[in-house]
């Protein structure tokens, strides 16, 4: 029984990790309608920033969010303004996907050039301490990720539902043309949204860096699962992405222990395919691709 509880706890903590990475991706996807293939590399950039600030300047990894989040916001906003926006009018939407794939490759190789292929290890400052909670053993850093992912999801929901800017963002997501007629500057909203999405992954980076060795390819480790989560959660639903992450984390952990670690990906993607066939709009989505389900 204790083992089962530990496996479940591992799954939920892994799910929280996927959630914190996926939230920004789902936001960008739901509103700007761009599949950001460079999302994992944004995470990687954030992790290197955390690494530099922590190891070179001695700042606690959590405190680095003060710098990492604004810098990632800037990176996201610039990407939207100078890479995606000029392509928004292109006849084929897929061209934006290719642009983000290009950005992803460029960022990986830039990191290789600057940091080399070796791993960079962010100092953990007590975040790797095991805690015994009843029968279950967890790390302080993992609990922090769980707490932060809940806060991030709740915070984003409230922002989108209760602020003027949030309403404008939702209006653009629901009907771009009508929003424009109501006097909303759609391009500015897109830049803002892309920035917020990237800023979310900045929060993730600061929390993940102390727990995982950073390397130029680290983004690809997380991002494939993040895409699954976004689709499973219902394409653009923030709450859905969170629940979808927990589901994926649990399947991953349970199948890894009770079947075999070779079969984890088979299990995750098998369940994913079955859910898609049964409910093509995603597990937690009521209807078609829109953001209406963001509101409670």
């Amino acid at each position: 029984m204790d083992t089962f509880l530990q496996v479940v706890a591992n799954g939920l903590l892994l799910g929280a990790l996927f959630a914190i990475v996926s939230v920004g991706l789902t936001l960008i996807f739901g509103i700007v309608k761009v599949v950001n293939f460079a999302h994992g590399e944004f995470l990687m950039v954030g992790m290197y920033l955390t690494y530099l600030l922590t190891n070179r300047l001695g700042i606690h990894p959590f405190a680095t969010v003060i710098a990492v989040v604004p810098l990632l916001f800037l990176l996201g906003a610039l990407t939207q303004r100078f890479l995606i926006q000029p392509l928004m009018s292109a006849r084929d939407d897929h061209i934006q996907i290719f642009a983000t794939v290009g950005l992803s490759t460029a960022l990986i190789n830039l990191a290789l050039l600057i940091f080399g292929a070796d791993i960079a290890n962010t100092s953990a400052s007590g975040l790797r301490m095991p805690l015994q909670l009843g029968p279950v053993r967890v790390l302080t850093g993992q609990l922090a990720i769980l707490a932060a992912s809940v806060l991030l999801v709740v915070g984003l929901q409230r922002f989108l539902n209760q602020t003027q800017t949030g309403r404008a963002i939702r209006a653009v997501a629901q009907n771009r043309a009508a929003a424009q007629l109501m006097g909303i500057n759609v391009n500015r909203i897109y830049i803002l949204t892309f920035g917020i999405g990237a800023a979310c992954v900045g929060v993730a980076a600061a929390l993940i860096a102390p727990l995982y060795p950073t390397s130029p390819n680290i983004g690809t480790y997380f991002v494939l699962t993040a895409f699954v989560v976004v689709v499973l959660g219902g394409l653009g639903s923030i709450g859905g992405a969170f629940l979808g992450s927990l589901v994926i984390g649990l399947i991953d952990s349970l199948s890894g222990f009770y079947l075999s670690s070779d079969l984890r990906e088979v299990a995750v993607f098998g369940v994913f395919l079955v859910i898609l066939i049964l409910k093509p709009s995603g597990l937690f989505s009521g209807g078609r691709l829109n953001l209406s389900h963001v509101s409670p």
């Binding site: 083992t3 591992n10 791993i119 095991p130 997380f222 991953d252 222990f257 670690s261 990906e265």
Partner: protein, 401 residues
């Protein structure tokens, strides 16, 4: 008038190139110099360059200066393209390489078809020499040698230090599931069965995993005494950290090269956690130099040429292999493929006289049958050689003994 001038220029050019060709013999150096594998690709190539410098300083090969022509094998396709370029445009007499097994397999096929000898100095996969190519030779030890030594170490040393008979130990084999991890793990399984070891768990995982907690829990539940992991950097770090945090402390952990031999891995894991972890890989630098004569001279030459310490044993192994081949070619007459293969087939270097310790004699499929790896252990933040005894500089410390 103009035509005769053109003729004179052409004749002069021909004579110049003929005289240049007479003075130099060109070999290809095919490694990944850029891209993902650049760091250790470059490190490997440096060993070859030092061997060439030494041979040139001693008068060259057959009185000719050796010139290396670089080919950058960024990926498998480019490895093929660069092998073609070296052979057709560079007119190389042989190719040396290649660090990456996949690149080596692709490029050596091109060389084989052109009848150009290909000397593999650093790739470990079975298939490199397993294809029975006529012109491909490999000097370095392989994935199989790695597995063989790991099992030998368990039987000869680790078991006794843990106070058990070898067959009483519970062995867990974990490996990243690409060709590297899979081939080492399969050899481990085979040699373990031959030695009657009890393998209780054998699990692959994708190298790009972000969580090994289920795997760690499984090994812990089964009461595994010795964990064998074949891995790259990230997954080595992940396993060692998560095992430590889950309170899983097996009697011994033995890594197979890759991440386990790298200083950044030890730094990332933390030296306290890394202390006592064993590793089997190519000969490294903290080794008894009575068993690896001239190793110190190699390190000095490396420092002089590149202004830093060698970053891994890759350069050393490439150096030792290249040196033996170049010395053999020096005794031959000419550089035609048949002359070259005849010369290298005659190489007979015993154990304990090269800078890597192992001897060189090509056996079945042109694999160096005397190649072997060494057993290392992380002690005090450094990777020191502990096995075999003749090469060790420190005793192996397992289970407090």
């Amino acid at each position: 008038m103009k035509l005769s001038l053109l003729c004179k220029v052409a004749v002069a050019a021909l004579m110049f190139s003929a005289s240049a060709a007479k003075a130099d013999v060109v070999f290809g150096a095919l490694y990944p110099f850029s891209g993902q594998l650049a760091l250790l690709g470059e490190e490997s190539a440096r060993g070859l360059e030092i061997a060439v410098d030494e041979i040139n300083a001693a008068g060259g090969v057959q009185g000719q200066k050796v010139v290396l022509m670089r080919g950058d094998a960024v990926d498998n396709n480019q490895a093929i393209g660069e092998a073609r370029r070296l052979i057709s445009l560079g007119k190389v007499s042989a190719i040396f390489g290649s660090y990456s097994s996949a690149r080596s397999i692709a490029a050596s096929q091109v060389a084989e078809l052109s009848g150009i000898p290909y000397f593999e100095l650093g790739a470990v996969a079975d298939e490199v020499t397993g294809r029975g190519l006529k012109f491909l030779y490999r000097t370095n030890p392989t994935a199989e040698d790695m597995a063989k030594l790991i099992v030998e170490m368990i039987v000869n040393k680790v078991a006794a230090k843990l106070g058990k008979k070898p067959e009483e130990l519970k062995i867990g084999i974990i490996y990243e599931d690409s060709s590297y991890g899979t081939s080492v793990a399969n050899h481990e399984k085979k040699y373990a069965a031959d030695a009657k070891l009890n393998v209780v768990s054998m699990q692959g995982y994708p190298a790009a995993t972000v969580d090994m907690s289920s795997l760690v829990l499984d090994l812990k539940q089964r009461g595994v005494d010795v964990v064998l992991q074949t891995s790259y950097s990230n997954d080595s770090v992940l396993f060692l950290q998560q095992a430590n945090e889950a309170g899983f402390k097996p009697g011994a952990i033995i890594g197979g090269g890759g991440g386990y031999s790298m200083q950044p891995t030890a730094d990332a894991v933390g030296h306290a956690v890394m202390e006592g972890v064993l590793d089997v890989d190519f000969t490294q630098f903290l080794v008894n130099t009575k068993f690896t004569p001239k190793l110190e001279e190699f390190v000095a030459a490396y420092k002089k040429k590149y202004n830093e310490n060698p970053r891994s044993g890759h350069s050393l192994n490439n150096y030792a292999g290249a040196k033996a081949i170049l010395e053999a070619l020096n005794k031959a007459k000419g550089f035609s493929p048949d002359v070259i293969t005849k010369a290298v087939n005659a190489i007979d270097v015993p154990q304990g006289v090269t800078s890597v310790g192992y001897g060189i004699k090509f056996g079945k499929n042109n694999q160096n049958e005397r190649a072997s790896m060494m057993g290392m252990q992380w002690q005090g933040g450094k990777l020191v050689t502990v096995y075999p005894d003749a090469a060790a500089i420190a005793p192996m410390k397992v289970g407090g003994k």
